[in-house]
Symmetry: C2
Amino acid sequence: MSDLLERLRGRGWRMTAQRRVVAEVLDGDHVHLTADEVHARAVERLPEISRATVYNTLGEMVTLGEVLEVATDGRAKRYDPNAHRPHQHLVCARCGAIRDVHPAGDPLADLPVTERFGFTVSDVEVTYRGICPSCATTA
Amino acid sequence: MSDLLERLRGRGWRMTAQRRVVAEVLDGDHVHLTADEVHARAVERLPEISRATVYNTLGEMVTLGEVLEVATDGRAKRYDPNAHRPHQHLVCARCGAIRDVHPAGDPLADLPVTERFGFTVSDVEVTYRGICPSCATTA
DNA sequence: ATCCTACGATGGACTTTGTCTAAGTCAAGT
DNA sequence: ACTTGACTTAGACAAAGTCCATCGTAGGAT
């Protein structure tokens, strides 16, 4: 069931009720939750879980490469459990809705060596912005 | 001299000492400053300028399309005076240094209609990440 | 099964980044 | 120079996140 949980367990993670709940919340719906949203949902199952623990756990999962951090607006970071399939994000400029998208081509290859200034470029993050269908109809 | 200042004046902006200083600071070095860095530099020239004014002024310049907001990390937004030449950003994952870069091709065209989910896509933001030459040498 | 202990969790203080408001100030048109 | 509405100010407030001292417990050792 919880694929994410299995992967974490396989890495020798010490399993606690708190970590299990955070992993389950993240892996549940495939939406992109903020840390506070994760905390809110975790509290429903484990009322005494603290914010610090949620932040710590999310941070560890990011370090382990099992979860991605996405900063689509200047506000709270969002956490994306879909770390093992490369993808980009499409964000509604009005309501903030986020969809995973898969552009054609490799954006990394589009950056010529002359435009790399000696950097060792290892990653590229692409954020498309627009208006989603439901925001478009409600004027 | 201050191209940015000229453009703002041409739009009927009420010119004040504070706005002039903010525009000059931004247009001076072509680095990507945070709001607080802008404030720190502005204070050197106009000691009584307040943080709120810097935030207001930057926000207005963004609304007018004369300055771009870039959120390369989850931290403070940075302000980019180079709004009239389309470009993307290359960020050092270690020290946070930012360079403007010009990828080949149009990233917007790389998103097939089938991957747009009914969104009206109007903009794309690309952030390349890597290690800059000076961080690479200092282990 | 029980004990130990290092790792994890807790909550509250603290920091950073940004917004808001009420009151004072000033640029620019008349 | 006067007037007025736009601009600025200081400080309170808010949101997002980090830090720390202390307490609790998972899981190996016995």
